[in-house]
């Protein structure tokens, strides 16, 4: 297949391109105009074509979609204020979808997030699945969740109004090399000081080398069309177990002040009530003092990856221990053999 991958130079994007190349696909990798492609491990791979585009600008996107079989849309803004993220996530997606209509591209794998679920109104202990309630009050959530919700809404509209084949993939929190510390462990107080909230909530993690193949499989499998698929790994750890495994590997952790989940939730609810009743909702509380955001990150739930396994015939390749080992190793995780190398190797095997 010829796959156009947006956000190709991002953390997850680099692994998705690697996996697509390993699966024998041609990749049109969309990177921002000023990106340094040389830093990407697969930059000189024969099956990669770089497209320098900023999706926030409408012009030129449709031209780059010619002959593409499917689009894997990973691009999103993860930093900045609401309007910066809105431009990088929502407007970028709007422009991409318009271009797909213009170029008559019918297949889209959209990468959403676990952040779209309504964790406040979902009872503790619930098994979070693709059918779990979607956030009904986005303005109470952080900018990332707000813009990802709007983005998914756009994709749904695109699917309904046009005769297109859409798969929505919702990964849990993606971790991997250089991204091992997690906002699911607490809230940042200063540069190197975190408030570690709770310890026994199950973390909806997916290791980047497990998640990337699921995304490529979603593009390959016709059974995935029209589906929404959550991606989390097997045997998910709780916060305490995850930190202990990192400590065991001497991974540099920030300093932490521990606070009990129930106590933190009580503090947050008190502040939230005070804001609503006394301050008429005018105050903007820090994320960890907002029960809506707090529940989204630290409430106790269970998570399932059964539909991903059934629809995509996917299985997480690496356990948590193996994933941490690979993340902390010097192994080149993103290396992809050139097609000619593979052919030569096969020939050698045959002749040998």
């Amino acid at each position: 297949m010829k796959l156009l991958v947006t956000g190709a130079s991002g953390f997850l994007g680099q692994y998705v391109v690697t996996e697509a190349l390993r699966s024998g696909h041609q990749v049109r990798a969309v990177v921002r105009p000023m990106s340094n492609e040389k830093r990407l491990a697969w930059h000189n791979h024969a099956n990669v074509e770089f497209i320098r585009l900023d999706l926030r600008r409408k012009n030129g996107i449709a031209d780059e979609l010619k002959d593409v079989d499917a689009v894997i849309h990973l691009a999103a803004a993860k930093e900045g204020d609401f309007y910066t993220r809105f431009a990088g996530t929502v407007i970028a997606t709007e422009n991409l979808l318009d271009a797909m209509i213009e170029a008559k591209i019918k297949r889209l794998v959209h990468i959403s997030t676990f952040s779209v679920y309504d964790y406040l109104r979902t009872p503790s202990g619930t098994n979070i699945t693709e059918k779990t309630l979607i956030e009904s009050d986005p303005l109470e959530r952080d900018e990332y969740a707000q813009t990802k919700l709007l983005q998914e809404e756009l994709v749904r509209e695109f699917e309904q109004k046009n005769q297109v084949e859409v798969t929505i993939v919702r990964p849990g929190l993606v971790y991997g090399r250089d991204n091992l510390w997690s906002s699911l462990l607490g809230g940042q107080l200063t540069n190197n000081l975190w408030l570690r909230i709770g310890g026994y909530a199950t973390m909806p993690l997916t290791y980047v080398e497990n998640c990337a193949p699921a995304i490529v499989l979603a593009a390959e499998h016709p059974e995935a069309i029209g589906q929404t698929i959550n991606i989390v790994d097997d045997n998910l750890p709780n916060q305490r177990a995850y930190v202990k495994k990192q400590e065991k590997r001497k991974y540099p952790l920030p300093k932490m002040i521990r606070i009990n989940w129930t106590l933190m939730r009580t503090i947050a609810w008190t502040m939230w009530k005070y804001n609503k009743v006394v301050l008429k909702g005018q105050a903007r509380l820090p994320g960890i003092a907002n029960p809506v955001i707090l529940d989204a990150r630290f409430k106790h739930f269970r998570f399932s990856n059964l539909p991903a396994k059934e629809i995509l015939n996917w299985k997480p390749k690496y356990s948590l221990d193996k994933a941490l080992e690979r993340s902390c190793s010097n192994e080149e995780l993103l290396k992809v053999q050139q097609p000619s190398d593979t052919v030569e190797e096969k020939e050698l095997v045959v002749s040998g």
Binding site: R32, R57, I91, E94
Partner: protein
């Protein structure tokens, strides 16, 4: 008598939040429509702030909605064309700064507005911040004496990330004559001319200390003279912390504030030569302590340096309803843009 004006907003980017939050709650305005080239952006603004309708084409919106006031919040190079179309449709225009790229364009637009008997208002929101109004009162009450010196200094790390440093999709402001500084120069000049209106001499050094092609300038150092009164204008991206400092020195005393972290340090005659310094220190110490609590509360309560915007818009809508002169007049905009023009004319003289 009309008590509510029908409003529309063209352009729903970041600054629209400040306008729309006023329009959503003001009793003097009814938010009839929002318009943006991005339907997703317009739709979001409409649902977030309660607009009746959504458009991607502003001419269609002008025809169908027939608003009384339009807020133009698009990139600066588009202002002139959109403003003319709005004025021609008989609509008052409240336009984000800078109103036009050049002084000539402003004059053309200003004449056009006056010939159509409509108001054209450029946003000078910082002139309506609480602390600036307090300084004006000190002058009006003759506590500072005659204004002799003004300093307006903006320090912002515009090169260290953010929308202006984005090389992937350069902000349209980079195309303006003063580059990124054009985004701030209207505010700076509008404050200077509030205190010393009739500028006669100008010297300015425009620099690009950080180099590179993206930024045309990242530094401005200017002196402005009006009669015996002097003003210093500084824009710097290399002097942290960020701030928007305004100092006004009169013949009797001086006052200073930072519009980003508001306080008011007022050094004036209070009780004779002997006790005045002590009382000033004590009074200003109390003000600083008080300001730290107030600013903390303001941060929590989402009261930002844009606090003057709602005050300005409220006064503007009141004036339009009562068919009176708005708080920012043609003369105010003329003086501001004339000073911007004079500063830009000094380019490359240093």
């Amino acid at each position: 008598m009309t008590t509510t004006l029908k409003s529309a907003v063209i352009g729903t980017g970041a600054i629209s939040k400040e306008h729309l939050s006023f329009l959503a709650k003001s009793e003097r305005a009814h938010l009839a429509s929002v318009c943006d080239l991005s339907p997703a952006s317009a739709k979001y603004a409409a649902s977030r702030f309660g607009a009746d309708s959504v458009y991607a084409n502003y001419n269609q919106m002008l025809d169908e909605v027939k608003p009384d006031v339009v807020h133009i919040l698009t990139p600066p190079h588009t202002h002139k064309k959109i403003a003319k179309d709005c004025l021609e449709a008989g609509v008052h225009v409240f336009c984000e700064k800078p109103i036009t790229a050049t002084y000539d364009e402003f004059q053309e637009l200003s004449s056009f507005a006056q010939s159509h008997n409509r108001w054209l208002i450029e946003n000078h929101n910082y002139c309506f911040n609480e602390k600036i109004l307090a300084i004006q009162k000190l002058i009006a009450d003759d506590i500072l004496g005659e204004v002799q010196e003004v300093e307006v200094r903006v320090a912002l790390p515009i090169r260290d990330g953010g929308i202006f440093a984005d090389e992937n999709l350069p902000n349209p402001i980079h195309q303006m004559p003063a580059g990124v500084i054009h985004d701030f120069i209207t505010h700076i000049c509008s404050l200077v001319v509030r205190f010393i209106p009739d500028v006669s001499r100008v010297a300015a050094a425009w620099s690009n200390h950080g180099g590179g092609d993206l930024f045309k300038y990242d530094d401005l150092d200017a002196t402005v003279i009006a009669g015996s009164a002097h003003a210093r204008i500084r824009f710097s991206c290399h002097t942290l912390p960020k701030g928007f400092y305004v100092t006004v020195r009169g013949s009797k005393g001086y006052v200073e504030t930072d519009l980003f972290q508001p306080h008011l340090r007022c050094v004036i005659p209070r009780a004779g030569d002997l006790l005045s310094p002590l009382i000033n220190h004590f009074a200003n110490g109390c003000d600083f302590v008080g300001s730290s609590f107030i600013n903390f509360r303001n941060k929590i309560m989402q009261k930002t340096p844009y606090e003057g915007m709602h005050r300005l818009l409220d006064k503007t809508y009141q004036a339009l309803i009562e068919d009176k002169q708005p708080p920012i007049t043609f003369e105010d905009i003329e003086r501001t843009n004339k000073l911007v023009h004079a500063l830009l004319s000094e380019d490359k003289r240093f």
